[in-house]
Amino acid sequence: MTTTTGTPILRDEVYAELAGIVGEENATREPAILDTYAFQYIAEIVVGDSYMGRPGVVVLPGSAEEVQAIVRLCNREGLKYKAVSTGWGAYGAAPEDGLVQLDLRRMNRIVEIDTRNMYAVVEPYVVGTTLQAEAMKVGLNTHIVGAGANTSVLASATSVMGQGTTGVSTGFSNRNLLGFEWVMPDGELLRVGSFEDSGEWFTGDGPGPSLRGLIRGFAGAFGGLGVFTKCAVKLYPWYGPARLELRGVSPDYDLDIPENHAAYIIDFPGWEEMKDFGNMVGEAEIAFSMCHNAPAPAIASMTDSNLSFYELWKGGLFANMKHTLEVVITARDAEEFAYQEGVLRDIEKRCRGREIVSSHYDLHYFADLVLGLARGMRKAGLRTTARSALPILRFVLEALRKGRTPDAFAKTLYLALVKQNLQARGIFRFGGSFWTSMGALTSWDCCIENAKEGERIKRSWIEKGVLMDDGAENAWGGLYESGCYGHLEELAVYDQSDPVCKEGGIGFVVDTVKATIEKHLAFSLNAVGDPMHAAYSPHVFYYHRHLAGIKEEFDPGALSDATFYIDREGTEEFIRALEAGEEIDMRL
């Protein structure tokens, strides 16, 4: 039986049982509420509409025991289920209607911050910004993914990706996972790592079972392997104040960058120099944060509306200043700061880098700014430079009128990189949505190749009118663990309310996936879901068989929705089609 929109009706007895588990006010079958779980960003590319499937019911469990009871009930009744923490992105939903959606919003506690062993134990609804606020009070900090500080720390550590701009000093989310509490797909509860044995979470491996790799792998199971109800994440030293005090009113916040901290944007003559700089700074272990952000999102984050962005951007100068790295230094004391900045500037010199933004505004910076701008102008040509001059001058005068000092951009940059608060300006504000592609976790040198190829492919989709013209170069990413590896993904901005983008957007993704395979650019972050696995697996030892094996072993009934994880039959069908030379639909 279905509703008028096709949603399968959950039997009244089952609904009553679910409501009994979580309490009446924490369960709903109201279509208007269910729809707010179906509407998701990128659904338009995944299923061709702003809405994914509408769940049959949404429940708000308050504890691991309640989650267990729900999962057991789903197993008994053969119902598909899926958990979300904050629920941002199509992968929190399923393409078809009728899912039992667990919204973990009520599980929102920081259970513990262990300052001696430097870790925190969190529930699913603890987000980057809340954990960071509490950690900073005790001199610690957390890895926050590039999505922003509004995303779940647990979801990122246990279930989804893990790239973030501070990766050079705070690693990748899966590497910070120190154990977890897991309601397995059959409803059994398992605690993994040292907690099982000692009650402390200092390591994810033994003496209890270690299943860290298994539940995550590269990308995570995207809700396809039960529900994680608690996890421990490693924390890192924070050499700043307990709280960053801001001045001013939204959207124009100002702050004093703490002593011995600094932020820079460094411009290079080309990709090669940028590559060398990244490798050297990573190796020198002096940066708190180091990432590449393309000029369009960088300028968007410094402006308060699309219109003010456009005023600055349309001249064309900035699109030519694209070989840049953003760096933040956070030193313990003046001596360490002097050392770190000294090393930075030495490497800068060797790589012909110019500080075009700096919080340390000394002679060196002003000289660099002039030379950096001159280099940008040379690349851009006389006409573009002339076109850009007036709007830039107006922008600078306006900033001065507001009482801004020359380090104003560095302050915004510092805030963005430390607090991870400006992502929505840099991507969503433009046209409404974005897709990302390429982005393998690989050597920094290979990352640069990803960026070059991504730019080339994107340009063709801009020319077709499908994507916003952000100058084509819109790679984003950085280095991890002192530069042992890195990632650069290619962001593509579009308007999800525009049919041209809805229909064409997938083409960009398909082209980039093909390019990563044909040009050996490693495993794209789009390797999620059956069609994508089918594209990659034959080139990577048929890895899908292992992934499917894990899924089948833990979830033989395939009830933990695996749309964005793996289904053996589905993947193999796509592989057969591809091997027969057929084109497959990459949508889910």
């Binding site: 729809d35 809405y51 629920g87 919204d103 219109l307 969503f428 433009f430 046209g431 409404g432």
Partner: protein, 432 residues
């Protein structure tokens, strides 16, 4: 905006990223996990639909015919204090209009005949029948000033009209604030008058509940009357009245007077040396920003332009549109007043100014969902207590009343007072 349909916001609604940023203050302002939420509705009811972004989706689903009205859908739409915090957090990064969507959703419900809710009807009926929200005969509106010597602005020319508002005028437990306001202004030499029985409701409840027709009628009558008085400025001490007079009336008809909140006038008088404090207050104080004095007090400008796309898909507005992002709300004036009071030690709460946490009373929440309004007030009281202050000062009768209920319900030792009462104390005067 007025007279808009959901279809006018289809693009805004479709472009919601479901990022949940509207559930928190602008992220860099989050200071602790305990006080990290900014939306009273989602804080209490938890389903995404209750957030600002959630209501964008509900609006889109309604527009697309995916959902139809139900009791629970109306709950989603009306269990919300229309505080606008979601709007500020979204607009920190985006060029979208969540608060306008929220208002248009309510207006659509009223146009479709499924709202006002039963609990709201008597309020609107009272506005129609008695020109006040408290179901009181018109004659009683002037009683608060019976023993005051103050000019009747309808009879004689005055420089400044004090617009008292229904609540200060008709709630005996709060009308002392109105008397104090007149005395303080007179002491400072302001040529102030009132309208007494002739004063009309400002229309704010009709606007927030979504009855645009009633609001426009009310606003028109008020603007006509106020214009006819020839006063230089109208001063309101109720944040609700102030907000609507300043920000929504310009959408209805032009006015020939300036609108001020009493805190702005007090700050000006202090700075001119016309109010000199002699009496130390001796209290540690925290200040609660009323939504309609703070983030919602920017004048809305009618914008009837179109969207234009450049660079293929960069969305800009033609002619340029000024988004209300809460930047120019009245945040500093009340703080300047507090700073001038001797013996007041101001300690700020974690959520302040444009990302202040609402008291819970607005948007018809108090009348239709009193338990929700009280829960919201309790949350604010806990935040105020966390500062260690003894007293919460504010500048709105609705906030004062609801926070006071929250204090009583929590069994807290905090006190809540209007800013003007502290000013009167500082002047050494007798309160009310």
């Amino acid at each position: 905006m007025l007279g808009r349909a959901l279809a006018d916001y289809e693009k805004d609604m479709t472009r919601c990223a479901r990022c949940s940023l509207c559930k928190w203050p602008p992220l860099a302002q989050v200071k602790s996990i305990r006080f990290s939420q900014v939306c009273p509705a989602i804080s209490r009811y938890n389903f995404h639909a209750y957030s600002g972004g959630g209501k964008m989706i509900v609006g889109l689903s309604k527009l697309k015919g995916r959902v139809d009205y139900s009791e629970e859908m109306l709950n989603v739409i009306y269990r919300c204090s229309v505080c606008g915090a979601c709007d500020i957090s979204c607009k920190y990064s985006r060029d979208l209009e969540p608060l306008e969507v929220l208002h248009t959703l309510r207006a659509t419900c009223v146009r479709d005949g499924v709202a006002p809710l039963p609990a709201h009807r008597p309020i609107l009926d009272s506005m129609r029948n008695y020109d006040n929200v408290w179901m009181q005969p018109r004659k009683k509106r002037g009683s608060w000033a019976r023993k005051l010597e103050v000019k009747d602005a309808a009879e004689q020319p005055v420089d400044t009209l004090y617009f008292v508002g229904c609540t200060y005028a008709l709630r005996p437990e709060l009308s002392g604030v109105a008397r104090t306001t007149v005395r303080v202004l007179q002491d400072a030499g302001v040529d102030v008058g009132i309208l007494g029985e002739e004063e009309l409701c400002c229309g704010s409840p009709a606007y927030t509940i979504g009855d645009e027709e009633l609001f426009v009628e009310n606003a028109r009558r008020n603007i006509e009357m106020l214009n006819s008085l020839g006063v230089r400025r109208v001063v309101a001490s109720c944040a609700g009245c102030y907000g609507v007079l300043k920000t929504k009336y310009p959408l209805v008809a032009p006015a020939n007077f300036q609108v001020l909140n009493v805190t702005e006038l007090l700050a000006e008088l202090i700075e001119q040396g016309r109010l000199v404090f002699t009496n130390p207050i001796g209290r540690s104080v925290t200040y609660h920003d009323p939504c309609h004095l703070g983030r919602q007090s920017e004048t809305r400008k009618e914008w009837n332009g179109t969207e234009r796309k450049v660079l293929n898909h960069l969305v800009i507005q033609d002619p340029p549109k000024e988004f209300n992002r809460g930047t120019y709300g009245v945040y500093e004036a009340p703080r300047r007043v507090l700073a001038a009071l001797p013996g007041v030690e101001l300690t700020e709460m974690e959520r302040i100014r444009e990302y202040s946490f609402c008291c819970g009373s607005g948007g018809g929440a108090k009348s239709a969902f009193p338990e929700f309004a009280l829960a919201t007030a309790r949350e604010r009281v806990e935040e105020a207590e966390n500062t260690g202050a003894e007293l919460v000062a504010t500048a709105c009768p609705w906030c004062e009343s609801n926070i006071s209920e929250g204090i009583a319900d929590a069994g807290s030792r905090l006190e809540c007072a209007s800013l003007i009462e502290l000013v009167a104390k500082g002047l050494g005067g007798d309160v009310s």
